[in-house]
Subunit: 108 residues, 2 copies
Amino acid sequence: MEIRSLVFKALADPTRRAILDRLREGDLNAGDLAAGFDIGKASISHHLNLLKQAGLVKARRQGQQQIYTLHTTVFQEALQWLMNFPTQPTPPTPPKGSEKSGRNGPLG
Amino acid sequence: MEIRSLVFKALADPTRRAILDRLREGDLNAGDLAAGFDIGKASISHHLNLLKQAGLVKARRQGQQQIYTLHTTVFQEALQWLMNFPTQPTPPTPPKGSEKSGRNGPLG
DNA sequence: TTGATATTTTGAAAATTTTCAAAATATCAT
DNA sequence: ATGATATTTTGAAAATTTTCAAAATATCAA
């Protein structure tokens, strides 16, 4: 699967977004991460694996524990794709003959 | 399903991203949109419905045709969530006692 | 109303995802 | 080596997604 789909797929799940939100406050090991959720450790492990595939987190071993960290390069790429979209609703253009004018970038 | 998951789920599929990319160049009706892809019109219709649920596109009827348009408010919200993440890899913090310092926002 | 065109909905199959419990692996302490 | 702790992998069930073909719906033109 291509990286861009992987990234958005990873972000499409609330559990995985919650994991990312918690990692923003600092690195965490798998057990502590899992402790915050209702689902089992095995499931969290799968989610972490998906986040790893997407390149959104990295893990390093520290003794018995796996410490998970945000890896933020990938966020920027997702961001950049999103920033290609105009912020204002497209003005009602006639559907086939499209006269292009200056288009707005996001956020302004 | 909550809107944020819907948005990222919508963006997670290459066909749907391609639809959005094509709509950036101008509004299109369902048939012309479908013409660009290998899959059937019914499938495109499902994808469009998902994009509509996510609030990423709007449709208006023009005679027999449904004209699809980007609806970009939602992109901004996705963007804003992504912008909460730091750009630099988190410096190796000791996992439990986290001393917070000034954190970077994205892109700078 | 009838026929043609445009699009969506339905029903069903194939593929994927999420989850759990149990088993397997890795590291540490003795 | 043995036992304890931390995490991942496996096997399997339930839920969801993607797709297609066929049927249904909506609009237009005569």
